[in-house]
């Protein structure tokens, strides 16, 4: 396990190969996609060609059969290269998004879909959150009504990443009204189906950072879904979704940590070169100490994130560690980016030095896919045993 000792030979090889692949896409590439909003097509192709999208999927579908630890190494190397979330979010969904399909889909569904996702031939998007429910997933309003051949879905989804280009959509919708269910989180079903643009209108949401990878508001009007596209059992969708939450938290943590380290590298380089009052500003403890502090915070969060990944790979519950790593990792990542901007002085505010872009992107991971407050609620309730507060 990477968290405690040295990396294994495989892990070193993976990290090295991803670093080399990412090194083809330098600061100018990402500054440009952030300006134009163009999808990082060349980067995604390079990652797909290298087989990186299949890191955590079984070999029978074209994957490498490795675990969350290795997937985390890949994603951390991506953000660390300076690709930040513009790079990570463009492939993140291919890497762990189809997990519910792999775990709960039937043989045909897997054989039909997983190889295409892993090869990059098809892209998917993930439609869970809705404007009126936020993190209260049991209150989702999108409905899937049964028809002779399957279901018809109507409703709205928000923050669906990559819907402009996705071929497929993994969508959760209510199949049984909440009041008819014994528990509020029952009656939700998961579907993996074609993103029919005649029935789904996807509108990008102008946002703070990561312009290259859009987030959308989806208006779903009469989407016909054959019953073969239902994942697992009807009504058990929420349970399936929960399985993917801990890996997602770990990946968000390491992605932010990677970005934080990239920001620190830029800040230290600048601090060594920038001479004011006859000496490099990096010789001043006022500059050194915040950078050193940020390094320590990133390193500590990194340990916890890989600890969580290692537990997950061993099949042990990692909820507490994954949540805590997400909280600490994304805060440490953001603070490192903020310190990097401040260390650059006025230049930190200029796009030319890239750290302001990192800082805008690092905000994303503090909010999505779960807020800091909900993580603290989880730890307070589930780890510390305090009464539920909401």
């Amino acid at each position: 396990m990477h968290s405690i000792g040295e990396m294994t030979e495989d892990q070193l090889a993976i990290k090295d190969a991803v670093e080399k692949t990412c090194s083809q896409f330098g600061e100018d590439y990402w500054a440009k996609t952030d300006e134009t909003g163009d999808w990082p097509e060349e980067f995604c192709n390079a990652m797909a060609e290298g087989g990186w999208l299949g890191v955590a999927f079984p070999e029978e579908y074209g994957g490498a059969g490795l675990g969350l630890t290795e997937a985390a190494l890949v994603m951390q190397a991506v953000t660390r290269s300076g690709a930040g979330y513009s790079g990570a979010s463009a492939i993140h969904l291919n890497i762990f998004g189809p997990k519910p399909l792999e775990k709960f889909g039937n043989a045909e569904q897997k054989q039909e879909n997983l190889p295409k996702i892993i090869s990059g031939q098809e892209k998917m998007c993930f439609a869970v959150t809705e404007p009126n429910s936020g993190l209260d997933t049991s209150s989702l309003e999108t409905k899937a009504e049964r028809t002779n051949s399957g279901y018809t879905i109507n409703g709205r989804k928000i923050w669906t990443t990559g819907a402009q280009r996705a071929d497929k959509i993994l969508i959760i919708a209510r199949t049984t009204p909440k009041e008819e269910c014994s528990k509020p989180y029952l009656g939700l079903s998961l579907f993996y189906t074609d993103l029919d643009r005649g029935k789904i209108d996807a509108k990008p949401i102008p946002k703070m950072g990561r312009k290259a990878v859009e987030c959308n508001m989806l208006y779903i009007d009469g989407l016909e879904v054959p019953k073969e596209h239902l994942i697992g059992e009807e009504g058990a969708g929420f349970k399936y979704l929960l399985q993917g939450l801990n890996p997602e938290r770990v990946l968000f943590a390491v992605e932010s940590i990677g970005l934080g380290f990239a920001a620190l590298e830029r800040a230290t380089t600048y601090a060594k070169e920038r001479v004011v009052f006859g000496r490099p500003i990096g010789q001043n403890q006022g500059i050194q100490h915040p950078l050193a502090q940020r390094w320590a915070e990133l390193k500590a969060a990194e340990l916890l994130a890989y600890k969580a990944a290692g537990l997950y790979d061993q099949g042990v519950d990692c909820g507490a560690e994954a949540n805590a790593a997400k909280l600490l990792g994304t805060e440490a990542g953001f603070k490192a980016c903020e310190t990097a901007v401040l260390s650059h002085g006025g230049m930190g505010y200029a796009k030319e030095y890239h750290v302001e872009r990192y800082m805008r992107e690092a905000m994303l991971a503090r909010i999505a896919p779960v807020s800091r407050e909900m993580i603290l609620n989880f730890i307070a309730e589930r780890v510390l045993g305090l009464p539920k507060s909401y």
């Binding site: 030979e9 495989d10 090889a13 190969a17 692949t21 070999e59 074209g62 490498a64």
Partner: protein, 248 residues
């Protein structure tokens, strides 16, 4: 055709090298190590020849510590077929490396050996030439193009005056220059496949080669720090300054 490619584990070319405080060498503790870039070019060339159908098998050899196995795995992930690790913690000088390789070649009988022209740690640029002499094989050094044609190896070399093309009879030695090709990055499926490829473990003793050093390092020092220059407005100011410094 069978090709042999020796690969060396060296300090990564991106690392800023630090001299040890006792000046006995450079600090290797906690430093990133990688395959010598010229050897990467050699592996890439062998793999390209294999992809063209001119080569059946690529054997990679590394002489070094246990961790040199990682370097061999990298070569296997790029497309080599099997590896030989000749394990030693000693610093093996080019002549001893060439002698060990001579014995390996005796066992493996490759028709072509592709080596990096030099390793970036000691920049010796000797092993390929010494090996050619020991074997009495033709050599094409500093190759910028390698073409297999009618049982011959045509090697274009970068020389001071331009380019020189040699036609070598097999078996032959080729050493690679920087512009021969751009090595590929290992893909994940190939990294996974490389895990299943065999690596034999040997020691210099198995080949009866004495690796004792013939050279002793007296002192290693950092290059002197270059002082900042001065900008001058015109030639007369330049001349005045040079005179003041006693340079002219």
């Amino acid at each position: 055709m069978k090709v042999l490619v020796p690969v060396k584990r060296v300090i990564d070319y991106n690392v800023k090298v630090r001299v040890k405080s006792d000046q006995s060498g450079v600090d290797l503790a906690n430093v990133k190590m990688s395959m010598n870039p010229f050897d990467e070019i050699s592996v890439e060339e062998a793999v390209r020849l294999k992809e063209k159908g001119a080569v059946e098998e690529i054997v990679v050899v590394s002489i070094g510590p246990q961790q040199a196995q990682e370097t061999l795995r990298t070569a296997l992930a790029m497309g080599a077929d099997r590896g030989i690790l000749i394990k030693t913690d000693d610093n093996v000088e080019p002549l001893a490396v060439a002698k060990i390789l001579e014995k390996v070649i005796g066992e493996e009988s490759p028709e072509l050996v592709i080596l990096g022209k030099q390793a970036i740690d000691d920049d010796s640029n000797q092993t390929g030439q010494m090996l050619a002499a020991l074997l009495d094989w033709p050599q094409g050094t500093f190759a910028s193009e390698v073409i297999l044609e009618d049982g011959k190896i045509n090697v274009t070399r970068e020389i001071d005056g331009g380019l020189q093309t040699l036609s070598l009879q097999t078996p032959a030695i080729v050493t690679t220059d920087l512009r021969l090709n751009e090595p590929r990055y290992a893909s994940l499926p190939n990294i996974m496949k490389a895990k299943k490829k065999p690596i034999d473990e040997k020691s210099p003793g198995d080949y009866g080669v004495d690796t004792a050093a013939r050279l002793s390092v007296v002192k290693v020092t950092e290059p002197p720090v270059r002082e900042a220059g001065e900008k001058v407005e015109d030639v007369s100011e330049l001349v005045t300054k040079l005179k003041a410094k006693g340079a002219i």
